[in-house]
Chain length 402, copies 2
């Protein structure tokens, strides 16, 4: 019994409302409470005290890869999540189909175009020559989302984005340092792509008569893809990832975990938790640990929806945890960060953590929530310490010294 399932409920931690409740403390969750009572608990800071984690950096640390050393930027992680065959040195961006009118971006999501429409339009911009020895490769993912790759020699991600995160004039990319030749070359290539894509998409018959044509592609999150030492070499364990969101799959793939696609795992409230649970049990046969990600907790936090955040936690307790318990393995439940509903955003507060199984030392805590776990015997864990703790739980932690 040396395997583990690591459940991350995205943005799980919260702050008390006027009555002193958090969605987690208010949720009906007899299974998690029992695991907390039988196991050990604490608080987890995926980056560090008070620091607000992003979704990408937090998961790198959760998987044992220090973000400060391994973070490649969002682009490469999104591209890996979309199963794009990246090559070392590629500059990858997160991209959007957008509506361009009279020199301005009027809709950053092109009227939330469907995935099917985006797929057809992506043909026009799949591969364009945007400089001497530089190709631009585009791939649509979900709805208006996509990824853009600049492939060639002497490229640099140190450039400004063409997606300003707001409507208005379409920004030109520029090197962060005007003297940086590679960055200048890359910014010029990106600008050329933007011009060519706009011309081609504007002429596309699919965009005719559309109120919000998808006639531009804007890009952000530039990063260079570099291979990292896979988890199996670095830590001697095989990990599987079960997640709906592309970014989480991307991070898992980047560190060498196997990404398992589950039908019905959508990253929404409707996500099929039972299917995820069954897939986790299946993956446990061939892996040392399985990471199971639930996105909806964070989504409801961003919506400021206390009730639905509480409800999805109860649903996880009812539909996911019982299945996982059949895995006869250690179970870790935590979040990647807090996302207080009152802030509608990530925060730097720690997230509750429980570790259950035969190789843990039970503490006095009998409930799984932000308050009770503050008294747990694990205390405060930071960064990659959770992964190291899991390795030890699995009896896979290597000796340091002799």
């Amino acid at each position: 019994m040396t395997k583990a399932i690591l459940v991350v409920l995205d943005g799980l931690g919260d702050l008390p409302d006027a009555k002193g409740y958090t969605p987690l403390s208010a949720a009906l969750k007899p299974n998690m409470d029992r695991l907390a009572e039988e196991g050990t608990t604490g608080l987890f800071h995926s980056i560090g005290r008070g620091i607000v984690p992003g979704s990408d950096t937090s998961h790198l640390n959760i998987f044992g890869y220090e973000y400060s050393k391994y973070y490649p930027g969002r682009g490469p992680l999104e591209a890996l999540g979309a199963k794009f065959p990246l090559k070392e040195g590629d500059i990858a961006f997160r991209a959007n189909f957008a509506t361009f009118d009279n020199g301005k971006i009027t809709d950053r999501r092109a009227g939330r175009i469907t995935t099917e429409e985006a797929k057809v339009l992506s043909k026009y911009v799949q591969k364009l020559k945007v400089g001497t020895g530089i190709d631009a490769l585009f791939q649509n993912t979900v709805e208006h989302r996509g990824i853009l790759i600049l492939r060639g020699k002497k490229l640099s991600p140190l450039i400004t984005p063409t997606d300003s995160h707001s409507t208005g004039p379409l920004p030109k990319s520029a090197p962060l340092d005007p003297k940086d030749r590679n960055a200048k070359r890359t910014a010029e290539a990106l600008n050329k792509f933007t011009r060519m894509a706009t011309q081609k998409l504007d002429k596309a018959k699919e965009n005719k008569d559309k109120r919000r044509p998808a006639n531009a592609i804007i890009a952000r999150g530039a990063g260079t893809y570099t291979k990292v030492e896979p988890m199996q070499n670095r830590y001697g364990v095989r990990g599987a990832c079960i997640a709906g969101g592309a970014l989480y799959k991307g991070v898992a793939s980047y560190v060498g975990m196997d990404v398992i696609d589950v039908k019905g795992a959508t990253g929404t409230f409707e996500t099929d938790l039972k299917a995820k649970g069954k897939a986790a049990l299946q993956a446990l046969w061939s892996h040392d640990f399985v990471f199971v990600h639930v996105k909806a907790t964070d989504s409801f936090s961003h919506d400021g929806n206390f009730i639905e955040k509480r409800n999805i936690i109860a649903k996880v307790d009812k539909e996911l945890i019982p299945t996982l318990l059949r895995g006869n393995c250690h179970i870790i439940i935590t979040g990647d960060h807090s996302s207080p509903v009152k802030r509608r955003a990530h925060s730097g507060d720690p997230t509750p953590l429980l570790v259950w199984g035969p190789d843990v030392r039970p503490d006095e805590v009998k409930k799984f929530d932000e308050f009770a776990c503050g008294g747990g015997s694990l205390g405060h864990l930071q960064g990659t310490e959770l992964f190291q703790t899991m390795l030890n739980l699995m009896d896979k932690s290597r000796m340091c010294g002799t």
Copy 2:
């Protein structure tokens, strides 16, 4: 309600006496106990476990500037606290008027000369030429205390002090590394200043017929002044400092906080706590957080005075905290380090910490003292983690990643 007041009771933490009490645990402090009960608690190490913090290094960390990277030495911080217009590259020292007799320093404080007497004498040594292109600038501060600046090119703070912290022969300054030319030049300039100051002060009519003439100036704490990125740029917050002691004002000024002078804030038991409280409320309008420093807790520790340390804590509870509560903001109360009365010195023990306000998760702790806070859900915070925690409390912590 996203602002904060950070109260630092200098040297607050202590060790138990024969009956098991500390000044804090013995003090009548219903307000702080209530805040502890309603808020969350822990222990704070301003530098690190077991390390004895200085007043300067601890406050750099408290303000979010890692001392290991930003500590300029005591001299520049004292000079900034005295509002001396430092220029980048200045070598600054903490200086004392002293009594010099027959080649020896016989009193390091010149009979604790008054500020008024020191002001008159300082005219003789205000600006002296002490080398090719090197000026020595002296400014008296409080009583026998003052600051000395060496201004010129190719100077270095890597020299030995002329204040040996004890009576006896007046030490000559020397470079720490005999091969270091700039340090040699600086030591020579300092020695020249010492000679010139002794000659001039010895002849001064104000020193005639004095049993303990203030006829020498001794210096220590050499450091180079370099500007640092101000807090508002680095962290996006505006901080105000309310303190009696020059050193605390100096550290605050160094990191770009606004130093607010309060009439009656003396850094002694008689300090006007109500005036400080009112000034803090006033400063809160135009700042994100206000730092309020109380020195007397540490002074009584150095005197080994348990009763008076206990009394000043009770006085803070009665006269300062109620005013601060009217600020309708988060309140943090802690120390910069422990100063056990039985040691009459700083120690490496952590200091109790409480964080109160709407965005904290209450724990089971119901009292504010060294023992109770050891069970608090904040656990142990170190170094700049307290500042990061405060930033998050104010919803001003920036995201790391995306």
